[in-house]
Amino acid sequence: MKISFNINGRNVKLDVDPMRRLLDVLRDDLELTDIKESCGEGECGACTIILDDKPVTSCILNAVHADGKKILTANGISKTRIGEILLDCFDQTNSVQCGFCFPGFYVTAYHYLITDGEPSLEKIRYALSGNICRCTGYKKIFESVIMACERLQEGS
């Protein structure tokens, strides 16, 4: 089936099996290896992308779900102003250890920044509750998102 979508600002047209996992299409066909796979069952958030303005886990979606949609991945986000600030905050708080979960957290946190952005620990914990980290722990990750919220509020 022919599908087309916009990914990180680029329009693509593909001829794919509509039932193939969206994760595989993005990683294997488009070589977007910033999207990670860990559990493959929607539980860990490593494969998070933004699909039409909502963060979702791409391992439980199919290619057909992307048809006509707009997708943003960690690569695309890192080139935006807010994405750069967020990256810097993750960096400053040393929240990334092995780094495997990081792109997922980064995408979800970016979505929180652009849709809410209140530096509230409670809200951030809830927003990021679909992403799992097994080494750094969550405290530093939450701190980096709070820092990013504050920096954006200060307008820096």
């Binding site: 089936m1 069952e41 057909v64 979800t108 809830y126």
Partner: protein
């Protein structure tokens, strides 16, 4: 696995005629893709429906809130209509999976997948919701109470789809409501047990009560013997021994990966007591 993408709802019904037997409808995909991974779906036809927007959205018609089958949990949680009219229902669903799943998972998929643990079912049961089933030429309303007949068995036929879910606008008005989902962690957890209850109290007497549990029986259902026992009882007259006896009649707890029968029975009993004593 045969993939079919209908161009419209009428086209879907036309094409459904060409296939006998079991088939799947790809909505959000959060259950189907796990089932494909685990080889529980092999050759059955899969009809994509997620683009059929007439099956999506929340509206009020007369005294009924109508929620389209493709409406996602995120849409439900952010709906001003539900916030105003059915706040108990709406707030309870925040415990569904995680925000990442909430924007994918649809309510029709949750009902049709018919897991005993589906979060929405105890709530729909106490709110006396109805499911609207559609086929090419007719539609019918089934009270959610009568929808399931056994483990993953339901009255919906293989050429029918869930069109929408209907809840009376006053379904929770003037009721004291309770919902608790017990799992091993707060987010991304499949329920070990979920209990929804609504009741009316006059002084200390229960004048009306509805209780439903999920993850307890082979499909979620109302605990009617328990309800009847509790109805018109004064709170202080509820005896532990009697409550246990009636509850035994209502449930045949399942044992699965997550918990065993005895645990589920005890938790259910405790939640019922917590519900009643919280008011």
């Amino acid at each position: 696995m045969k993939f079919i993408k209908p161009s419209s709802l009428p086209d879907l019904f036309d094409r459904l005629q060409n296939y006998e037997g079991r088939k799947f409808f790809l909505a959000g995909g959060s259950d189907i893709n796990i089932q494909i991974k685990n080889r529980m779906i092999r050759d059955e036809p899969i009809f994509y429906i997620n683009h059929l927007d007439e099956l999506r959205g929340i509206q009020v018609v007369d005294d009924t809130v109508i929620i389209g089958a493709l409406t996602s949990y995120a849409d439900i949680i952010s709906s001003p209509i539900l916030k105003e009219k059915l706040p108990f229902f709406r707030n309870s669903l925040k415990l569904f999976a995680s925000p990442l799943l909430q924007s994918v998972a649809t309510i029709g998929g949750n009902i049709a997948n018919s897991s005993p643990t589906a979060d929405i079912l105890p709530l729909l049961l106490v709110l006396d919701a109805e499911v609207r089933l559609l086929t090419r030429s007719k539609l019918r309303f089934i009270p959610i109470n009568e929808f399931y007949t056994g483990y993953k068995e339901y009255v919906m036929k293989t050429n029918e789809i869930i069109g929408s879910v209907h809840i009376n606008i006053d379904a929770e008005k003037n009721w004291l409501a309770y919902y608790r989902k017990v799992g091993s962690r707060q987010s991304l957890t499949i329920a070990k047990l979920a209990l929804a209850g609504i009741m009316k109290l006059k002084e200390n007497s229960i004048t009306a009560i509805k209780i439903a549990a999920g993850a307890l029986n082979e499909y979620p259902r109302r605990l009617t013997t328990t309800e009847n026992y509790l109805k018109s009882k004064r709170k202080e007259d509820i005896a532990d021994k009697e409550l246990k006896e009636v509850l035994t009649e209502d449930i045949t707890p399942i044992t699965d990966l997550r918990s065993d029968k005895n645990y589920r029975f005890d938790v259910c009993l405790n939640l019922i007591k917590e519900f009643i004593n919280s008011y």
